[in-house]
């Protein structure tokens, strides 16, 4: 992580609408750490939170409740990737700029790099690994394949989760709704047009049941 030495500016979200969904806001400077504890970098934490205390929490991830010990300053992204090895959620910018780490929290898209693990307690966390049914992909996943809505695929899990979040809220999105709904995610390969087509096609499939 690059953020925790206090050398950087305030962490800022690219898009206001996701800013409102993210939990933490301020990049904290950390001067020291308690040795002997499993360390993690602090990226954002509410001011009242005691740094570096460990806390046992239970997280509901992809329908399973997992009890685990986390650092109070650990982001949900770190917990998912480094502890739970759910590496489908990507670390691309670590500071709420790209949407590569988007997961659903109670059905709503959030940047998991911008949320502490402890803040996710008591909420339903859905990652890309938990999206597909037992034998069948989620309609959004299938549409991404059918429409070739990816290239390198690194931003794809984030885009898919953001798309599912959008369709949870809006069953019949217009073209502009889709653009706005995905404006918090960056695709460097530039396959946006096919992503829009995929979301529209998935919306159709979902409406038909």
């Amino acid at each position: 992580m690059e953020d925790f030495r206090g050398k950087k500016k305030k962490a800022v979200t690219r898009r206001a609408f996701l800013q409102s969904l993210g939990g933490g806001a301020v990049g904290m400077s950390v001067a020291s750490r308690v040795l002997g504890q499993e360390p993690f970098s602090i990226q954002s934490a509410p001011a009242e939170m005691e740094l570096y205390s460990k806390k046992r929490i239970s997280l509901a991830v992809n329908g399973k409740t997992i009890s685990l010990e986390v650092e109070s300053g650990e982001t949900l992204l770190q917990t998912l990737r480094d502890r739970l090895k759910l590496t489908g959620t990507k670390r691309t910018c670590s500071r709420g700029e790209c949407g590569g780490c988007t997961v659903l929290l109670d059905g709503k898209p959030v940047y998991s790099c911008h949320l502490l693990a402890v803040q996710a307690e008591g909420k339903d966390i859905l990652t890309i690994e938990g999206l597909a049914g037992k034998d069948k992909l989620h309609p959004v996943q299938q549409a991404f394949i059918d429409k070739d809505a990816y290239q390198c695929g690194f931003c794809t899990p984030g885009f898919i989760m953001a798309s599912v979040g959008l369709l949870n809220k809006n069953k019949q999105p217009t073209f502009d709704d889709v653009r706005a709904g995905l404006a918090g995610n960056l695709c460097r390969c530039g396959n946006y047009q096919k992503i829009y087509e995929a979301v529209a096609s998935a919306a159709d499939t979902m409406r038909r049941g």
Partner: protein
Amino acid sequence: MKKEQMIDDPNLEYAELAKSQGTQTAPAQLQPQPKPDEFKYIGKYTPRIDGRKIVTGAAQYTHDLYFEGMLQAKILRSPHACADVLSIDLSQALDYPGVKAALKLKEGRVKWAGEPIAAVAAGDEQTAEEALNLIKVEYKVLPHVVSQEKAMEQGAPLVQDQGNVQKLNEYNRGDIDKGFKEADVVFEQTYKTSWEVHQTAETHSSVAKWEGDNLTVWDSTQAVQSVRDGLARALDIPAARVKVIKHYMGGGFGSKLSANDHTIIAARLARETDRPVKVVLTRRENSYCVGYRPSAHATLKAGVKKDGTLTALHWKNYVCGGIGRGDRCAEPVTDVYKCPNVKVEEYSVFVNTCSSRATRAPGHTQGTFALEGFMEELAAKLRMDPLEFRLKNYSLKEKGDTGKSYSTKGLDACYKLGAEKIGWARRNKKPGAGIGKIRTGIGMASQIWPGAGVPGTLADLKIYADGSIEVECGTQDIGTGTRTHIAVVAADTLGFEPQDITVKIGNSDYPWAPISGGSLTVPSVAPAVRDAALKAADQLKQLAAKKLNIAAADVVFENKKFMSKNDPSKAVEYKDLVRTLPRPMCFHGERSDYPSTFAFQTFGAHFAEVEVDVETGKVNVRKVVAAHDVGRVINRQTAESQVLGGIIQGLSAGLFEEKIMDSETGTMVNPNLHDYKIATALDIPEIVPLFVDVIDDRLNNLGTKGLGEPPRIPATAAIANAVYNALGIHIREIPMTPAKVLAALKRKEVQP
């Protein structure tokens, strides 16, 4: 470690890389070119065979690798753009709990802020990062220069002993003075492009693991073979003991073509600790330490007759690629249009930033932005239709109609198709003829790029006794769908389905294939796979003929069954035929050479429609029609995606992207995705990707060319030309920010 060991020349241009690759094989044995309708999959739409892995999060990127006992490495980088490293003290860092090893990487002169100084491996990223703070480095800070203009001034700090401005490229044909004398009109303009950072989604990353003397490296790379060779050289170990693996990678665009500093560092730390070591660059490091597209400040001067005939082209260009020499940008000028008298002068300008690296269509994007903008302005000066002006100077031979004939050239077909689909007649006949707050315009630009592929590329096709089929090739998929195009070619050639083929790539132990850069992959790999599959199909027919006791020429293969053409009752199932194989059959495929008597290029034309708000200066791209000649398209589905991506990146560079350096500190001001602007979901126009399907039967056994770079090349210029058509003002410097547009409007006093 010496500099030359650290960097496997990341500054090599694609074209040079391509030339340095491959072998000269036997002269081309041209195989009969199948007609497009003979294929079930080639040229059609096939979804990615690895799509399920990507959409479920199962695709494993280098970032996603976690091994037992794995350490994490962090790199201490110079905060100074120019300094002498007097001493490095690692002792406190080594004493820090959790730290397993530390390395000194630099002695002497540091020439850019971000240059690696030392590295640490620890049990986790944060410990490693904290330990970097404990490394004591004594610097003698020296004057630096990070601006292209300032580096060219008298008395600027010297970045290179031989001077900050050095000759990069020169070329002459005909008689330039005579060309200008023959002209009715002489016109000159200067164009500027910015530093554009690759900003790959997956930051550069490697994991190194030793087993005895054998090194395995998982790398986010475009070139498993080159990384293997680079690591072997840097570590002074046999290439035969190095294996490089890449399953999935999150974008490269030219920044991941060789063994990087951080990869070599991971390998050294892994050797020292005898544990796997992972290094993941931060977004910040990815923004200022692993290259960018060099800027170009180019002046074009042309002589032209009243009827539009070009008589002279003079190209003088200053390219700035930091401590590297940057790109040669002249090829569009020397090769796109017919012109007998051409003079090229190009100079490298050195400044204290990291070396530029190949960036999707290096040289050609800068050259094309200048040349195509210039052609647009020249056409207006001559009161000619810009498309007619280009057709007037159409060439059928390379070097502006003075060299070898193009084997095929479908640029005229691209013009025709693109103009029709955009509605070329709708453009402002006189640039800037519109009125009101929102002005609309239509512009176009042309493109060339080599894309012929590399002779000597290898692929093995294996058939196992259980009937399963695999293709092994030491290429890699950088997001273009390489696995799928291999499956499509093998399946179609053998009469199977793409999902029947197991594709194994991304491993340097597999048969040799070139870097995935420079539009080399499809025209190198597809013909090699086709060659192997043709041999396999032939061998299977021979076996079936023997089994059925008929002539091989009488054997047909349908529905996975071999049968006699004349007597369908004589038949054997494929599975039954191969069941008795004593060993798997292996067929070696090779990409053959192409004739040196012809020239090979890809061609294309983009047509853009924009609207410009003359009150805010904001450019909104409404639509881009892209028509490309890339020979035979192998998989139309992924080919279209390449075109979309190339255009978005061209739009993004044209409107937003710029690496900004602070002159005082010599560091990058915007090393993140918030301040370094790239196009987002809200900036995307409607894009119409089109292919003219000119199959080049001299080039290879599929008549196919590369497509990675072509769509990146003309997009920016087409957009700039559309802005010109809207405003009557040419913005000659990218990015075309609202501030630049407003300033240009003010100069012209265009009122809403």
